[in-house]
Amino acid sequence: MRTIFRPARLLLNLSVLLMAFFILGPILWLAAHAFVSGWQYPHLYPSGFTFTWWSKVFMDSALKTAIKNSLILSPIVVLLSMVICLPAAYAAGRMNYWGRKVFMIGIFSANSFPKIGLFAAIATLYYTLNLMGTFVGVLIIQLLGTIIYMTWIPAAAFASVPRNLEEAARDAGASKFRVFRTITLRMAMPGILVAIVMSFLASFDEAQGSYLVGAPAIYTMPTEMYSLVQNYPIQVAAVFSILLALPSVLLLGLARKHIMGGQLADGFQLK
């Protein structure tokens, strides 16, 4: 087959490349800096490759504690968020009750205020409740940030499960609970998975509130970044950034495989 020169096609490819560079550029810059001993203007090439920054991070007890805190906090936050929000999401998605819309918009509007003001108000409350600088305090702050994801996305997922798929299961002899378990929940699962990923990332990346409420007693990976930027060489920050991004990338990769490639995709016609 002869290839035909198509200017539109070329333009498209060029803009895709440009966009990829725009998105990936900073990450490439970070990745490069995590492995170089020094790379500063006016030198065109880095002065040498090294793993010292990685060992520095893993030797530093403050950084290690921050990693540990983040890895413990976020899963607990997501689990708690699921327990609290999923029933609410089901109710909002499937039932029609007085004040449903106000409730859903209310959840949304909490996110429309400047967060820092909200956190300051919470901080004064925390002082009286003795939650400042505690694990539970940070947990609650991060939990608040996940609520919008864990209610809105699953609510839409529950609402989009066709009723007659449930009726068909009832007709086939399944009890209401069994229908919920095998049909409703199963079909809403892609939405719930997305909500889990978003909530995890929201919790894992939350810095403002966690810093205000947690520091100096509790540091998480993002709040540790503040002191990193000020007190460590730039390469350590690069290493730490990569570590911070790793769970997000892994999670998104997993979710993509499960949501887009799995059998669940059939139900949502996304392929």
Binding site: N164, R170, D171, G173, D266
Partner: protein, 336 residues
Amino acid sequence: MNTKDDMGLELRGLNKILGGRVIIDDLDLSVAKGEMVSLLGPSGCGKTTTLRMIAGFLPVDSGQIMVAGRDVTALGPDKRPSAMVFQNYALWPHMTASKNVAFPLKIKGLSKIEIKEKVEAALELVNLLHHKDSRPGQISGGEQQRVALARALVQEPDILLLDEPLSNLDAKLREKVREDIRELQRRLGITTVIVTHDQEEALSISDRVAVMNSGRIEQFSTPQDLYRQPQTEYVATFIGSLNRFEGNLQDGQIHGGTDVIGIRPEDLTIANEPLEGSHPGIVELVIPRGHFFEVVVRRQDGLFRAFTNENVPTFGEHVHVKIKKALRYQNGKLVA
């Protein structure tokens, strides 16, 4: 009068009000075992509501539903001995065809071997064994419908409910599936209620047809009777074509009066010469309909629509139309 064994479905005095509107109005219906019955009517006549009440998805306001001699009115859909094929099939997209069919058996708690046997038999019945590992999204609409049918039949229900089963299929396939369903229903001898708004479908598939209108059954009889002896003016106009005139029929002529005269197009004879009591007119339209012709004749105060396949006149020809047989209605009811 019925022994318990030959009872199919019985609806007694069903009522349903939804949103302040009477949807079902004191409805009675009696379906014999092994019979195939259509609920036919325009949208909003209550046919789907009736089906959903039989299946148990909608509670009745009052009345009784008996299936195979058992009162099921108070039972939920999971406890009723009925199985439904939904209009859009309602297959579970995350399960393969055989998983879909196996679901009701799994709930019954059958053993794995039994389930496998029955599922394969059911899929074989609808000629779909080769698609047992396909998911609904991977097969055509007609195949999905057969999976839905297999899922209903595998439950060995006392009564099979079909909600507009052919409406999502294209015209060619519709006829074939219609025949397939009928053949299967006859072979299994399963009591079946089918909801449809398509009169051709209802007339060709059913033993008896219940024509519904605003929550009531206008007439419940065989397709032939429905066409030849429509008991109400509503049924006469709803089923097939009808020449409708207001007035009284005397010696083949229509005079002023309060009756309604209905004449089927094939009950008109077209002749070149005047016959006794015939109406003179001019041919306005001749439409070939395949095995017959539809002829529209204009007379002094109206139109005659006739079906004929002999002596087909041509456009503009002067002809004489004679009424062979007419239906007479007073206050909407047939008068003998």
